[in-house]
Amino acid sequence: MKSEQQYIELYNEAGALIKQKSCPVMNAVRDEAFRVFEAKGFPSKKVERYKYTDVDAAFAPNYGISLNPIEIKAPQPCKEGDARKQYVFSLKNAPIDLAPYYNNVADKADALTALNTALVHDGLLIYVPKNECPADPIQIDNWLQGTAATMMNRRVLVILEQGAQATIIINDHAADKQRFLTTQVVEVVCKDNSHLDMYEIEETTPLCSRFSNVYIREGRDCSVKHNSITLFNGQTRNLCDVYLTGENSEVTLNGCVITDKNQRVDNNTLIDHQVSNCNSNELYKYVVDGQSVGAFAGKILVEKDAQKTTSQETNSNLCASSDARMFTQPMLEIYADDVKCAHGSTVGVMDETALFYMRQRGIPEDEARTLLKNAFMGQVIDQIQLRPLRDKLYVKVEKRFRGELDKCEDCRLCK
């Protein structure tokens, strides 16, 4: 039996229950999504965008599924008279009609998105009304908890109305030493002149598998920065697709990946320039150590009408051990004739002359290696605009390289 069979059976058995716990806007697209999944099954490694991840194997174990309700309380005022506005809701209790947005940014033909859409019973909505800007960053902490192997299906919808602005941080943690499988679909709608600074930070355990699909649609005069940071994980496959649909918009995709032992991280991105005068920047850096495997495939698509596009894509990788492997595939596909685009990737090993220089000054080899890895990753962390997060990540990245971040430091396992 191929792995998809158990999910098809699951849906046939539990579909009604999921619908009962869900809401009309989600149920409206559920059966169709299921049919897509049923027809396609899990993508094999022959499918271009999945060639670096064995999806079938990851979904093969028997996971329980969590259908716990999502409760969002209105934010409590920190002090009297400081009424805080609510920007985060459950999808079930959305303040606006979600039908025009839900599952309309995502790629409906992607099997994992389809599976998520079929199985997810509720999710989070981050809604920022016109011309508003939440005073503080919105932080979402996902804690994986459970006494048995559990599958989590997460759904996040972000809507920034015209002129809105937000900073969003999504943290992934695991609280239990348990096998967890997460599917996540994040849809982001940025209406004209909205600005988003978004961070996804994974600090889970080697027992966790994460399949995340992020879809971002930008109107005109928008700017989006998406930062994907994998500090500690088991197996991770992140997809991030950005559609530039309005002129004068820009997007920055940054990635920082640190792996060792048998960890795997596969980032797959697409930046689709549909209209003219947009700018995209992409920088992903990996440090792969131990027997770990890293993969990066990033495509910049410049469509026929997307004249005056400027785009820069860079993937730099450091293989810190001889057993670590890195696959890299920067891609440019250009159909317009007046554009300025560049793409490139490098895979290198530790600079032996720099190591020798440092050791001659008395810096022990391990320390010298840590300094070099840290320096290499610093370039991505430097890009982080949110100062407190940047400072925190400098510390975390260094700890990670020193082997002091084997588990997420805030979690109860480590206390």
């Binding site: 600079d351 720099a354 001659q360 008395g362």
Partner: protein, 243 residues
């Protein structure tokens, strides 16, 4: 002592003793093995000693790691100092100084004390504060790199220094600053091996002994007058003597 690099024998039996407080100049034709000798002494993993031994203050150097040799007090001023993008001079120096202190059983320096020492030592070689916030040697001019080497020496207070063509690429003023910086740092115990092609460095750093290295062997040893003779006449007369 014999040594190879990449399987090729470069040093073919070098015998050399440097006593406390002595300055030895090492001269010789290009490719004679001068840099190989320094790299072997400091423990560059790219070089392999195939025969013989190196002893430093009674310790068997060849049994020690590169960093352990540094902790024991050996320092090399690189002919071509290495750039390390992303590692600031300050962090680099802090790591080096504290690693040595730890090896000597001392507490790491407090940040304020460390910065104070940095400030003092910087003056010695007239190196700008702004270079300290940059990455190691990144964007440094040739002269700044060489000055930076002597600055690092000042921070680490070694007892045996190798100056590998520290004069190359320096203008006369920079040469004076670097050489005078080195002289100020010398104590009675400090010994050094100075590799150079030119007398002008030896005008400042006066050698006690001058060696000539040709084809992996020390073929001639003399006093300071030997360097002057080489400056004027080259190496041909020595080669003729050997033939």
């Amino acid at each position: 002592m014999h040594a190879t690099v990449g399987g090729k024998e470069i040093l073919k039996g070098v015998d050399l003793t440097i006593k406390d407080g002595e300055i030895h100049a090492l001269m010789g034709t290009n490719g004679a093995g001068k840099s190989t000798l320094s790299n072997v002494i400091v423990g560059n993993p790219a070089y392999e000693v195939t025969e013989g031994s190196i002893t430093f203050n009674g310790q068997d150097l060849l049994a020690m790691k590169t960093e352990e040799r540094a902790h024991a007090g050996i320092f090399m001023s690189f002919q071509a100092p290495i750039e390390i993008p992303g590692v600031s001079m300050t962090n680099f120096m802090r790591a080096a100084v504290n690693a040595r202190r730890q090896a000597l059983g001392k507490e790491p320096l407090k940040s304020t004390d460390f910065l104070k020492i940095m400030r003092e030592k910087r003056k010695l070689v007239e190196i700008d504060q702004k270079l300290m916030n940059r990455s190691v040697n990144e964007g440094f001019s040739g002269g700044e790199r060489k000055r930076n080497e002597i600055f690092q020496m000042a921070m680490l207070e070694p007892t045996f220094c190798i100056l590998d063509e520290t004069d190359s690429g320096l203008d006369v003023d920079a040469l004076r600053i670097v050489a005078e910086g080195f002289n100020k740092l010398r104590t009675e115990e400090t010994s050094a091996m100075v590799i150079t092609h030119y007398q002008r460095l030896l005008d400042y750093i006066k050698p006690d002994v001058v060696h000539v290295l040709i084809d992996g062997k020390i073929v001639k040893t003399g006093g300071p007058e030997l360097a002057l003779k080489i400056e004027n006449e080259g190496f041909d007369w020595i080669k003729a003597e050997l033939a």
